[in-house]
């Protein structure tokens, strides 16, 4: 167990070190209410990171999730602002995400185009299209939407609970179900997978649709946290999600990675910025430290691959 998941456990070790340091130097970091608020604010990113991790295991990449997240947020906001029922707002956001994912999937799997280029194109097109349509104007949401009408604490537990549920469900699917193993197989060697009776292009298509739908769900989880939708939301989200997956040990070259690692990588990156604020470090260091963590993770993977002769 320890040996097989050495990579994930080493990141967990770093995370625990950071938390221990915070416990010594800034115990306020663990004060329950701001902590719950911070976790709730970050929870949607975890859901997106789960989707990205699955895409990466399938040896693809999706850099359009940030733009898609904004589109889904605006769709959710507009449907809710039109006084349509709440479940419809949620469903339309998830559907918008799935449609965006299906577009990516169709172009990548159907036309065999490289996913980095396809999703670069959809990233730019969706973001600029949204700018044209919405002109950067905030959408005011009706009163019942924030925290889905629950008291704030209840809403926060709900959002965090959904994130954990998605993570656990995805982990189970990837590990125990045939479809999850098919994604691993396609990511390791698509041709071998095909010979084993898997349809790689269908798997790839499905993986993009799933990521899109999860992005839509994440957008809803974010929208309910405030009474207004900022149409610029989700900028750089794709990088944060990919970084969480990479730090958590998901291989960019496909075929390897698990969602427990993604959770640890996500938590490590998510706690760096607030931790630096708590100990009063100048903000100029944030990105440098996050970049260093990502670099270390990639270097560790590179060394390991060399040792394994891959």
């Amino acid at each position: 167990m320890l040996k097989r998941h050495f990579r994930e456990f080493s990141v967990l070790g770093v995370l625990l070190c950071v938390l221990a340091l915070m416990g010594v130097f800034a115990p306020d970091f663990f004060a329950p209410q701001p902590l719950l608020s911070r976790l709730t604010a970050a929870a949607p990113k975890l859901v997106v990171a789960c989707g990205i991790a699955v895409v990466m295991v399938g040896r693809q990449i999706d850099i359009s999730v940030g733009s898609l997240f904004a589109v889904c947020s605006v769709v959710c906001g507009l449907v809710a602002a039109a006084k349509l029922p709440l479940p419809l707002a949620v469903a339309s956001a998830v559907a918008a995400g799935a449609i965006g994912g299906a577009l990516n999937g169709a172009l990548v799997a159907g036309l065999r185009l490289p996913s980095i280029v396809v999703t670069l194109a959809t990233m730019v097109t969706l973001r600029e299209g949204l700018r044209l349509a919405q002109q950067g104007v905030f959408i005011d949401l009706p009163d019942g939407l924030q925290w889905i009408g629950l008291p704030m604490i209840g809403g926060q537990y709900l959002v965090c609970g959904i994130a954990i549920t998605v993570l656990v469900a995805m982990a189970a699917v990837m590990r125990h179900l045939a479809i999850g193993r098919a994604v691993h197989a396609v990511g390791s060697d698509a041709e071998a997978a095909r010979l084993a009776g898997i349809r790689p292009r269908l798997v790839t298509f499905g993986v993009f649709v799933l990521t899109g739908a999860l992005t839509g769900l994440a957008a809803v989880m974010n929208v309910v946290q405030s009474p207004q939708v900022d149409p610029n939301t989700g900028r750089m989200l794709e990088l944060e999600a990919i970084a969480a997956a990479v730090v958590g040990g998901v291989a960019v070259s496909g075929g390897r990675g698990n969602l427990g690692g993604v959770l640890v990588g996500f938590l490590l990156l998510a706690c760096i910025t607030p931790a630096l604020t708590y100990i009063g470090v100048k903000p100029y260091w944030d990105k440098a430290i996050q970049g260093t963590v990502i670099l270390l993770a990639v270097v560790a993977d590179g060394l390991r691959n060399r040792k394994n002769g891959r």
Binding site: P34, R38, P114, A121, L132, S226, P274, T277
Partner: protein, 339 residues
């Protein structure tokens, strides 16, 4: 490889055609509607037509044109688009308007077109955001960095009673205008409000959600914090929501540079105390007044003051006509504004 190249071409094509076709029909329905005759024709261009900020500038511009009996042509890109701005300027040159007033999306991009207009004898003023000085006669400057810095710091000190900790949320650590504002905020603090202490500066990448997260962290990390000063517009509602959710509304004050609509609910429920900007209606009014005076030869280079119609005297420094002190949106006056 060929496929990805083809895709790039497609993408480029989509973006290009998107730009050139998104524009409005130029020269449509000038507000007067009467034959031009000897009436002064003033062409007025925002960065983008639909933007509420510029719509409220237009209110003032319309009023000034009415006061002056001039014809106002209002046109601009649907969304901020430097190429489209140039195209409209070229049309106006062909049309032979008397004076052009423009809020420039891209300083370098538009200056060539504006210089060409000047060569044809068309007067040029800029407002909101400037072109190169050589490309226009005057810039109607809505707020100097010093004015903004002083207004923010004075308001912070007033709300905190002169002492206490505050934190600044900015867009990015590299945004030139915000670095400039911070310089004046700090200078004012040292000179006038030494009891105030700035404990943290956090970037929010110009995103409301990120500002909310940053503010939540700041409230936890600095329990004695008395005020959050937000110097980019999405940060003001973001910080207000964080303060509200932390149950600290009223205890931690929120101020910033922002737009009335985004902050309306927080001003009304008392979470946000003051939103600072300028009077956009007056900006439009003054711009058209200055444009008309310039075209009539009443306003010349070197002037030190200018009478802007019903608004009275304005100061001119160099070739900048100053709109004056920033304006404070509060619970009391917020209902008069919609942008």
């Amino acid at each position: 490889m060929f496929r990805s190249f083809a895709l790039f071409l497609c993408l480029g094509f989509v973006l290009l055609t998107g730009c050139s076709k998104s524009g409005p029909d130029t020269g449509a329905s000038p507000s007067g509607g009467t034959p031009a005759g000897k009436r002064l024709t003033i062409a007025f261009m925002p960065k983008s037509k639909g933007n509420g900020y510029f719509v409220s500038c237009k209110q003032g511009a319309d009023q000034a044109a009415k006061d002056l009996g001039a014809e106002l042509i209002f046109d601009g890109p649907v969304s901020p688009d430097p190429a489209k701005q140039n195209e409209i300027i070229e049309n106006w040159i062909t049309l032979g308007v008397d004076v052009i007033a423009v809020a420039c999306e891209n300083k370098d991009g538009i200056s060539t077109a504006l210089k060409r207009a000047k060569d044809k004898g068309i007067k040029v003023v800029t407002f909101d955001s400037d072109a190169e000085p050589a490309a226009r006669d005057f810039f109607v400057n809505q707020a100097t960095p010093e004015g903004i810095g002083n207004a923010l710091m004075d308001e912070a000190a007033r709300l905190c009673g002169g002492t206490g900790e505050f934190a600044i949320i900015t867009a990015s650590l590299t945004a030139q205008n915000m670095i400039e504002w911070q310089k004046y905020i700090e200078a004012r603090r040292m000179a006038k409000h030494p009891g105030m202490k700035m404990v943290a500066l956090r970037p929010c990448d110009d995103l409301k959600d990120k500002a909310q997260a940053e503010a939540t962290t700041l409230l936890g990390a600095y329990p004695d914090l008395k005020l959050l000063m937000n110097i980019c517009s999405p940060a003001v509602p973001g910080a207000a929501e964080a303060v509200k959710q932390a149950g600290k509304a009223g205890k931690v004050k929120v101020i910033g540079l922002g737009l009335p609509n985004e902050n309306r609910r927080y001003l009304k429920d008392g979470t946000t105390d003051t939103v600072i900007l300028w009077k956009t209606v007056d900006l439009g009014y003054l711009t058209v007044q200055a444009a008309a005076a310039l075209a009539k030869g009443e306003l010349k280079a070197g002037a030190t003051s200018f009478k802007g119609g019903k608004l009275g005297e304005f100061r001119i420094v160099g070739d900048n006509i100053l709109l004056g002190e920033p304006f404070k949106f509060t619970k009391e006056n917020i209902d008069q504004f919609d942008f």
